[in-house]
Symmetry: C2
Subunit: 199 residues, 2 copies
């Protein structure tokens, strides 16, 4: 098996695994089913991931990398001014939202199976450090408790994606295709995070 | 069967249903299992709830009522002053958090099965109306897009409860028993919702 073939077997296992785990839950799907769906032999899951748990971990790590690489980039550079600080928060919001929508299948798995991809923890630490720098430089309010608010933006975004079928059923809004809704939603929520609800 | 007996059969079906659906997922549990766990005959689920779907709906409606009755009370009275307006937001936050923790089992089911209890929709409408009154009376910023932020507090709370096993594993914080953490977390998050992160 050449390098390309071996890569594509691994990729197929990751995507079949994601699809089936999302549909049936982690405990509801067998290694046999995943391998059969990926059109490969049972050995291959052991070869690439060790076991079913290893496959789940690999799926959630790939979610972490796909979703948080870009936001982390915006968080890890020191903001030069208040404008730069606020602009980066907008960029973090928008790129996280986009990536969560793009990777919604593995996002759902990571939520349901309560996985801890490394990049998520890095994102949370990066978010805290970014807010702390903002406080230090006088861009953010000194009363903020940075450790308690690292999930503020993420909760909002993750739930918008997690509950998208419900939002669609209940309000007729298809967040995956309605760009003008998404823009309005992002702007309103960034606005509250930055400025709060009172003057 | 007397009134008391009939009530308790119904209660037992609700709590056995909640427990088993939470453990195994809605599609992973049978009517037979639920009835056997509730120590009652198969007829009873049909008598009280029509079918398994009816039981799920009843469980999620009870979540809605248990969680949103009190917050809705605070939202539905017109705020008399800015202080009253802000105080009510704090009360909504704290009572919702408390009720979500208290009802965490049925909260998890409602999330996973993406149910729409009536009281949740009433809460969201009440939240929007409350913010609109706040804007109208000059207590809240006129730039707020009230329809886009009805889930702001709820997302934060629901995820704190939904991810409590993860939070415990990852950070050693037991949100169900650590009152001082919960207080600090509530205050910081209410503060950001009200005042934002910048001056």
């Amino acid at each position: 098996m050449n390098e390309k073939g071996s890569n594509s077997t691994k990729e197929r296992l990751l995507s079949s695994g994601a699809l089936l785990i999302c549909e049936k839950g982690f405990s509801g799907v067998s290694v046999r089913e995943i391998c059969s769906h990926a059109d490969t032999s049972m050995n291959m899951i052991h070869h690439y991931f060790g076991c079913k748990d290893g496959l789940l971990k690999a799926i959630s790590e790939s979610y972490g990398e796909n979703v948080f690489a870009l936001p982390l980039k915006f968080l890890s550079k020191e903001p030069k001014s208040k404008e730069d600080f606020l602009c980066r928060i907008e960029l973090v919001f928008e790129t996280t939202l986009e990536a969560c929508i793009e990777n919604r299948l593995i996002l759902m798995i990571t939520i349901r199976e309560q996985q801890s991809p490394k990049a998520l923890l890095e994102y949370m630490a990066g978010f805290k450090a970014f807010i702390d720098i903002g406080i230090d430089k006088g861009f953010a309010r000194k009363e903020l408790d940075s450790a308690m608010i690292t999930g503020f933006i993420l909760d909002r975004i993750v739930n918008q994606v997690q509950f998208s079928p419900w939002i669609n059923d209940e309000f007729g809004t298809d967040i995956f295709n309605d760009q003008s809704y998404l823009k309005r939603w992002s702007q309103s929520n960034i606005d509250v995070f930055i400025n709060g609800i009172v003057n």
